[in-house]
């Protein structure tokens, strides 16, 4: 009987601990300032890479909303679109990745094949997104890989628009 009571107490304490440690979580949406991804030409036929740095949008957002950085528990990419100036681009596909000094490279989104005649392209988002917080708080670099179907001599750049979902602990 005593053993049964003890196990009930342990169970109650465990549930109370779990509830306390989880806390209430808020989800906020944030559209980042457009990010320019560039690389110096010429670009050869085949894979070429374009890079751009992640700005301080998330840090500023947290400050404005009165959150501390350690309240930010998770970031998910909800939407990613890429736009470019030149219609002459002849690109088969695009893959977006993120990397930082401390974290490994991670795929975020891609499009294959690229729809023709469209200058604003919505990318398919990866289902598996792990620990993105550090990339967006710690100077992450976005890398856009594109397979070019022909050589292009002029300098190109892409504009990336990202929509994020931030999970915050109250």
């Amino acid at each position: 009987m005593k053993l049964l009571n003890l196990s009930r107490i342990i169970l109650l304490l465990t549930v109370a601990f779990l509830i306390a440690s989880c806390g209430k979580k808020n989800k906020e949406k944030l559209i980042l300032e457009p990010i320019t991804l560039s690389a110096e030409g010429p670009y050869f036929e085949g894979p070429n890479s374009f890079q751009g740095k992640i700005g301080l949008d998330v840090t500023k957002f947290l400050q404005e909303k009165g959150y501390k950085q350690d309240q930010l528990k998770d970031i998910k990419i909800l939407g990613a679109s890429v736009s470019f100036d030149s219609l002459a681009l002849n690109i088969q596909d695009l893959t977006l990745q993120v990397v930082s000094e401390k974290e490994s490279m991670q795929k975020l989104a891609f499009i294959n094949p690229l729809p023709s005649g469209n200058q604003n392209i919505q990318l398919s988002i990866a289902k598996e997104q792990k620990d993105l917080v550090s990339y967006f708080l710690g100077g992450g670099i976005l890398v856009l890989d594109g397979n070019f179907l022909k050589e292009i001599e002029e300098n190109l750049s892409f504009t990336l628009n990202l929509e994020l979902e931030l999970t915050l602990k109250e």
Partner: protein, 152 residues
């Protein structure tokens, strides 16, 4: 005053050594071919780390679809339509010293598996690429040769 000079000299030496080490690591940048000759890998630097992507495939088309080969074995199903040409199969390598790049991974598109990996430069044109799970001694080494690019 002597202490300030010492600190200044040590700082200068540190920056000199780290920049030298960084340049040493850049020797891996270039075009490489694995021993099976099925692909060519371009190694480049992003931030402080080194990455290798497939830029050429001996058999670029999937015989069943007759379309460019895709990463059909990717564990994340949502990423299986990414083409293999352009795929970054070497990731996150850091140059430490003594012709060795560590802490990276290598991806095997034929199985969809990721292995820990260490790269050793035997000479300017030869790399030993050792992939392993857990213990380095139980891995497998492949020899890659540098390809010379004809400049226009």
């Amino acid at each position: 005053m002597k202490t300030i000079k010492k600190v200044f000299a040590t700082t200068l030496l540190f920056f000199f050594l780290t920049s030298f080490s960084s340049d040493e690591g850049d020797r891996i940048i270039g075009l490489w071919e694995p021993s099976n000759g099925k692909a060519r890998i371009k190694i480049e630097k992003i931030g402080p780390k080194y990455y290798g992507k497939i830029v050429w495939l001996k058999e670029p088309l999937d015989p069943t679809t007759n379309a460019p080969k895709l990463d059909k074995n990717n564990p994340d199903e949502s990423m299986r339509d990414i083409p293999l040409k352009g795929y970054r199969m070497l990731k996150d390598f850091i140059y430490i010293e003594k012709d060795e790049w560590k802490e990276g991974t290598i991806y095997d598109p034929e199985s969809g598996s990721i292995y820990s990996c260490v790269i050793n430069m035997k000479d300017e044109n030869t790399l030993d690429i050792r992939g392993y799970i857990g213990v380095k001694a139980l891995g497998r080494t492949d020899v890659w040769k540098r390809l010379m690019v004809n400049k226009k």
